[in-house]
């Protein structure tokens, strides 16, 4: 089991960051679900719970989700439903269970940059920015690809747009990690196709998406599917082989596109 | 009908659903020493030296026990009646470790943290040996998993430890080879079933203390309390009258608790220290250091005439019992006897089996107890046979299965007094809509829905 010598409920982000920088053995506590499984003995666990970062709020042009927001809160948020449809509830419903998702946080889920992350796949299909304490504001894809420096993820900011979305995933059993996950969105005639758990982390199939019009015909869709498996890399792990993932990607992306066109 | 077809509430139902403290860990005294085990990272090795000087310095550590501290009586952990068919191939702690996870040292301390710290500080040097990992190569492998002189089997189980052979045997009824030569169709296949874990929700756990009369009390999550008493007495070299076993409500077993697993470690600590002690397996430990279903490779030959009369069946089972022989000699029997018996119309049966040791987790009991593996193999073969005969697999079964009053050849000639199998098959066929669905129907342009069949029997009483 992991261990903590000290627990600190901080009063400000400054205090949190200072503590984080004090020692490599200090750590930000998210929902703890992943961290708990490790064997590492930490010094100070830094709890951001008291900073009001567990909220989903609306600004003029964005929806902001604080890092301590539990996944379950995102699923059931009327605000997120209003703007992005059932994207988050569809994406998160396979993650273990309700009690789990009442704990797992947005911050912990994005910060850990898991390849299998349904959370990251869903956010990738939207226009998402990540606010970090030190590195400032970066796009989600920049965040995913930048050097992993110790920092605090403060919130995710999603641009408010009239967007249609759909989420597709394949799991070996109901609440297992995904074998593949796909999020598709259509906004102002522009498609986004995010494919995660390949098994590497979610990325956009940009060329593929550009082949699609607002109401693509069967031929365009077929060309798009071919492009998805050509432009993204698919790998092999204990859940599935790369060939299977490619076949699956075509099926799931197609279902996603069709669901939006319908 | 007053009783049949009516639900009966169990007498413990309300205690269970209101979460009353009825399971082992709920009953343990607060002051139990925490017991954990250092496990071997090697599949096969001899222990050269164990240095525990640093570990013993940890505050709160009560004792660290190794092979030097245990009685030298070999025993089996399988919960089985006299004369105990599983070979006596174990010690509580041995100088030789035989699978990744085999216990090397037992640590007891006041807190879990102290014990964990101590576990990390124990230094063990091993003489690493060449492990036997493939059951196909186990027999007469140059590594002998149980070379010890005091190894012994308590009855004739076709055992030869020097060949890594835990058990073997043969059963014949009629002349199978002659019957095979008369068959129009013979299916010959090998089916490989893997080791599985019973995965009961409550992992293995035991606490122990000395009672007012100085008896060792073991309160343990087990399916076999009486066997625990006898085996613990043997293993600890104390009289049975000095052991009392309490089995509280258990959180599932599925056969996993038909073998001793966590019992002897706290028992040993209590005997050495006089103090209450408790061991709770974590989930990973329950998977890697308990017992599994026996992995089996089963070759099935089954032959019939053109009209679908099964004439002969031969099953040959290779069973992997892992590092120790728990339930090895007995589970294997069910793979043949509990399966071929259903096809009592056949004229000849042959069942041959080999149970081998390998350097993997010991296998043990798991619901079905060997019949599960055999059923998968034989029933798959029967379906293939039906296909080869262009016969409906249910019709093929109806034509060949046993009926009440039969002397069951593959079940040692015992008489079967009642059997509703034909009625079950017919009812099942009707309920699932077999005649419309077999072998499959197209339900969309990407999916078919298929039906298939298997039959099974199990003993009870």
């Amino acid at each position: 089991m992991f261990g903590l010598k000290e627990y600190r409920a901080v009063q400000s982000l400054d205090e949190a960051h200072e503590l984080l920088m004090q020692s490599r053995d200090n750590v930000i506590l998210g929902g703890l679900l992943w961290m708990k499984m490790g064997r590492k003995q930490y010094h100070t666990g830094i709890d951001l719970s008291g900073l009001g970062l567990n909220m989903i709020s609306e600004t003029e042009d964005s929806i902001d989700i604080g890092c301590m927001t539990p996944l379950r809160q995102m699923e059931t948020s009327p605000l997120l439903h209003q703007w992005f449809g059932p994207l988050f509830s569809d994406a998160f419903k396979g993650i273990v269970g309700v009690q789990f998702r009442n704990l797992a946080t947005l911050g912990g889920s994005v910060y850990s940059r898991f390849g299998f992350s349904d959370v990251i796949t869903a956010l990738t299909a939207l226009d998402t920015q990540i606010h970090l304490y030190q590195a400032g504001t970066v796009s989600l894809s920049e965040f995913l690809n930048m050097d992993q420096k110790r920092d605090i993820l403060i919130k995710a900011v999603i641009r408010k747009q009239a967007v249609k979305t759909n989420f597709q995933t394949r799991r070996k059993s109901a609440t297992d990690f995904p074998v593949l996950s796909v999020a598709v969105s259509l906004c102002n005639g522009q498609w986004k196709i995010a494919v995660g758990a390949r098994p590497s982390r979610a990325a956009l199939a940009k060329k593929a998406a550009d082949l699609l019009s607002s109401e693509p015909d069967e031929e365009k869709i077929t060309a798009t599917l071919d492009s998805v498996v050509n432009e993204l890399s698919f790998g092999t792990d204990q859940r599935a082989g790369s060939d299977y993932r490619k076949v699956l990607a075509k099926v799931l992306v197609k279902r996603g596109i069709n669901a939006i066109c319908r | 009908m007053k009783i049949v077809n009516q639900g009966i509430e169990k007498i413990d139902a309300m205690a269970l659903v209101t979460g009353k403290p009825v399971y082992t860990d709920d009953l343990a005294p607060e002051n139990c020493l925490v017991v954990k085990v250092l496990r071997s990272p090697h599949a096969f090795a001899g222990i050269r030296d164990i240095d525990m000087a640093e570990a013993l310095k940890i505050e709160g550590v009560e004792c660290i026990l190794t092979y030097r501290d245990v009685p030298g009586n070999r025993f089996t952990m399988a919960g089985q009646s006299y004369p105990e068919p599983s070979p006596y191939d174990r010690l509580i702690l041995d100088q030789m470790v035989r699978y990744v996870g085999d216990p090397v040292a037992v640590v007891a301390g006041i807190t879990e943290k102290a014990v964990e710290k101590a576990l990390k500080l124990i230094q063990v040097s091993y003489d690493i040996l060449d492990p036997v990992l493939d059951p196909d190569k186990a027999l007469d492998h140059k590594s002998i998993i149980h070379p010890e002189a005091d190894y012994h089997a308590r009855e004739d189980i076709g055992n030869d430890a020097k060949r890594n052979l835990c058990a073997s045997g043969e059963f014949l009824s009629g002349d199978a080879e002659t019957e095979f030569s008369r068959c129009d169709v013979v299916v010959d296949r090998i089916y490989h079933t893997k080791a599985n874990n019973q995965a009961m929700m409550e992992t293995h756990r035991t606490f122990s203390y000395l009672d007012l009369a100085g008896r060792l009390v073991l309160c343990t999550s087990t399916q076999v309390p009486f066997h625990v008493r006898r085996i613990a007495a043997t293993a600890l070299n104390i009289p049975q009258s000095s052991v009392r076993v309490i089995k509280p409500r258990i959180g599932g077993g599925f056969g996993a608790k038909q073998t001793l697993v966590s019992e002897l470690f706290p028992a040993l600590v209590t005997l050495k220290t006089g103090k209450p002690a408790k061991m709770v397996f974590d989930r990973a430990e329950s998977f890697t250091a308990s017992t599994s279903r026996h992995e089996m490779k089963i070759r099935v030959r089954i032959g019939a005439d053109r009209d679908g009369h099964i004439l002969a069946i031969h099953m040959d089972t290779l069973s992997n019992t892992g590092a120790y022989g728990e339930h090895g000699p007995t589970t294997v029997g069910l793979s043949g006897h509990k399966t071929m018996s259903l096809y009592n119309m056949a004229r000849a049966f042959k069942f041959t089996y080999t149970v081998v040791y390998t350097n993997t987790l010991s296998a043990g009991a798991y619901r079905g107890y060997g019949a599960t593996q055999g059923t998968f193999a034989l029933e798959s073969a029967v379906n293939e046979l039906a296909d080869r005969l262009s016969m409906d697999p249910l019709d093929l079964r109806l034509k060949n299965i046993l009926k009440p009053g039969d002397s069951v050849a593959a079940y040692y000639g015992e008489t079967i007094h009642s059997c509703a199998l034909p009625a079950c098959i017919k009812k099942g066929r009707e309920m699932i809509g077999w005649n419309q669905k077999f072998p499959f129907v197209n339900i969309s342009n990407t999916k078919v829905r298929a039906v298939g069949a298997a039959i099974a029997m199990q003993g009870s009483g």
């Binding site: 273990v96 704990l103 | 139902a13 659903v17 409500r249």
Partner: protein, 156 residues
């Protein structure tokens, strides 16, 4: 460190280790209905409510329930009996080890849904593993409990 919290409406002030998990905390206080079935936040046996929300007590630091209200099955005896009766009449409390966590989550679901569909039930309880029941008897019991089939009391 010291924490103050309410468990089943009773106040507790205790000195705890910073990495003590809620499950071990409540069990040490005698609330033994809370069970541990895994090391990986997967099984749901340890479900309790923190401020009325169902969570996995194996994955919550006790330090984090400071000034919060925790509910375990011991605090819901009457409700547990009611749900439990439905489980018992379907034979869905076999070994019973998973029952407390399951009932905690059924009751949480009841607070969120008046009339859950079968799909809702399956979704909400997906994180409550049971090795014995195969889920069918549980599902029948839960449907009866929510009176979906209108035959709550006869169908046993």
């Amino acid at each position: 460190m010291q924490i103050t919290c309410r468990i089943n409406k009773r106040e507790f002030i205790r000195d705890i280790e910073p990495d003590l998990l809620l499950i071990d905390f409540v069990r040490s206080l005698g609330f033994k209905s809370v069970k541990r079935g895994c090391d990986t936040s997967n099984c749901g046996l340890c479900t309790v409510w923190v401020d009325e929300k169902p969570v996995l007590s194996c994955s919550v630091l006790a330090a984090r329930v400071n000034h919060k209200a925790v509910t375990t099955l011991e605090g819901l005896e009457e409700e547990a009996k009611e749900v439990g009766w439905f489980l018992a009449t379907q034979g869905a409390e076999q070994c019973g080890f998973c029952s407390p966590g399951l009932i905690m989550n059924i009751l949480a679901m009841k607070a969120e849904f008046k009339n859950p569909t079968t799909e809702d039930i399956k979704q909400y309880l997906a994180g409550n593993l049971c090795r014995c029941s195969g889920y069918e008897s549980q599902l029948r019991a839960i449907k009866n409990y929510f009176d979906l089939q209108g035959v709550a009391h006869e169908n046993c």
